[in-house]
Amino acid sequence: MPTSTYLPSPIVVVNSIDLSDQCTAANLTLNYESQENSSFASPNRSYVAGMGNHELTLTLYMSYAASETYATLKALVGTQTTVRVKPVTGNESATNPDFVLTGCYLEALPVMNASLGELSTIDITFTGGAYTEDVTV
């Protein structure tokens, strides 16, 4: 049995707007493009980090009400913004780091995803930007 686990209840902030109550999934992945630096001197291929190309994917309930999902995102599609996610509510700390993507890009926004008898949700992806981890208040 693990000594510590995490039951997800993250804080999700898009362009300074807290969308935690509309969010059901948040996946932030750090990516650094691999650049091969193998040579004849080594029998194995080797790689070093190239450019960072990070990605945050969110699943959100869709709502067209004021200050909700659509109102938050409609002006962001095709632009850069800043997104933040942290494990739980409360101040940033070493055990509750605020993961920040500054200047990430929202390429696409599904404006309608409707199925009979189901609450509408959308998946959006922010890509690129500068990654930082904020552990201070």
């Binding site: 300074s16 200050s67 109102a71 938050t72 913004t81 800043t82 500054t102 930007g129």
Partner: protein
């Protein structure tokens, strides 16, 4: 300077200081914040006395 309108951004009425990279235009157009008039300092009014020459007391 901006003022928070939506509680999703912060405490309504408080001053909003955007973090680097935040799209302020999107927040304004969505009605989440507004331009604030708080904190603008009026310039002090200087009373200008009409130039008066001192009256001579000599007779």
């Amino acid at each position: 300077m901006y003022e928070i309108i939506s509680p999703r951004v912060g405490i309504p009425g408080a001053i909003f200081e955007p973090r680097p990279g935040v799209n302020v235009e999107a927040l304004l157009s969505g009605g989440f914040i507004k331009q604030s008039t708080k904190g603008t300092v009026k310039s002090a009014k200087n009373k200008t006395e009409p130039d008066t020459e001192p009256e001579s007391t000599e007779d």
